[in-house]
């Protein structure tokens, strides 16, 4: 059983790295984006094998959602032609390739060469909770504040960048009387 688990973990790792490489090989924004999604799904599956069932499911959930939205942005904004045509996924690729390989080697060497401590106690029942405590336990206050600040930043960013607000749609008094009459879309914030 243990061998099967190791093999499955190895397959997940290979799929993750392999589809990560494919992101730069493909000449289509859609393919590159969904290759990245596949890499994240494989990462989520690896987490599942580590018995982090909640984290694994959430990684798959959030990353598929994120890639679905990202594909739209990539097609819209990447490339001179709005990425509907085949295009290269790389630029300054010699330097990028060099640094990427160097970082990978350093991280992989670290993972292999660090003298990991031996387990002394039995594995906990609630690994997800323990992992959360280990990562954030002593910084919970900071995390809570950063979370609110980030949400506020996103809202402010959207407000500042939106060309049309409810005042354009409904007029200065928000009563709809002085609103623009040529608003064909009628959607958006009111």
């Amino acid at each position: 059983m243990e061998i099967l688990t190791t093999v499955a973990f190895g397959i997940c790792g290979l799929v993750a790295v392999g589809s990560g490489v494919l992101v730069f090989v493909f000449d289509s924004m859609a393919r590159a984006t969904y290759a990245l999604a596949l890499a994240f799904v494989a990462t989520g599956a690896a987490l599942l094998i580590l018995q982090q069932s909640y984290l694994g499911a959430v990684v798959i959930l959030m990353m598929v959602m994120e890639m679905a939205v990202m594909a739209v942005y990539m097609v819209m904004f990447m490339g001179m032609n709005p990425a509907l045509m085949p295009m290269s996924m790389v630029h300054s690729h010699r330097a990028a390739l060099g640094s990427a390989v160097a970082v990978f080697v350093v991280l992989a060497a670290g993972a292999l060469l660090v003298p990991w401590p031996e387990r002394r106690s039995a594995p906990s029942e609630e690994v997800t909770r323990d992992l959360g405590n280990a990562i954030m336990g002593s910084h919970m206050l900071v995390m809570l504040i950063i979370g609110v600040v980030m949400a506020a930043t996103i809202v402010v960013g959207v407000v500042l960048s939106s060309a049309r607000t409810r005042y354009d749609r409904l007029g200065d008094d928000l009563d709809g009387r002085s609103a623009e009459r040529d608003d064909a879309g009628r959607g958006g914030a009111r």
């Binding site: 969904y34 909640y54 959930l61 959602m65 939205v69 594909a71």
Partner: protein
Amino acid sequence: MAEALVGSVGLVAVAIGLAWLSCAATALAGGATPVVAGLRPAREGVRLLRQRRRRTVAADLHLWRAGGWALVPSSVLMLALVPLGSRPALTSDVGVVWANALDVAVWAFVWLLGWGANSVVSLVGGYRFLALALGYELPLMFALVAPALAAQSLDLEDVARAQSDLWFVTWMPVAFLVYVIGVLGFSTRGPMSASVGREIGGGVLAELNSVDLLVVRWGRHALLGAGSALAVPLFLGGGAGPWLAPWAWVLLKAALLTVALAWTAARLPTARPHLLMQPLWTFLLPAVVVQDLLVGVILVGGR
């Protein structure tokens, strides 16, 4: 091994059955007689299978086919999470999150379906779906919080068990309503069907035919059925009910909700995505957050 095989075949059979009901109810709502409506899935299936498969110029065939053929497996996986009386086919201590992850996977599949065909109307349909998905998914996620919070567990078995006294639908009606809207959203039905709109020639379905169209249609109906089946442990008391075995109650409730949803959806007009966004986020989202708060308050107060 044999058990797993029987289980998988059973799940596919349930996916076919619920999709059949959804398709027949849609036809019934469209004015077909009961007999014609009941035979509609078979007739359509045979008609489509006799067509020669077509493809468009410079289509991204891999992404296109992957998107279309993944819809039915998603619905089967959703059904596998449903505890049929005793245990679900796929047991998980975070079944609610998996249900959510599977409905999010539909985002990717429908957009790929729209993208892969290399056709303008398909692409418009794909983008419409994502616009709608942004609208319904956030309220849907908060709706899933309510039953999990009340059961103090993300395990669908625990959620179903926690309703032995009172079905969750009775005291979290807003969450149920939002969930149902979400089901119509990820099965692209009724008011949420702009991505397959007739005015854009069928949207993501526009360039499909033959078996490829068949699996997508089956997938859309099966997703509606699977979403309804998931509502049973989430809101409708799981296998609770007199006389019949728990698994029979789960299937019966799922079938009834499937028919009700498909019939109602087919009677409602399609909403334009950009007009739906606002009520979904400025009205439904706060409403479901208040619902979650109420559930929390009732739980703390009931201790």
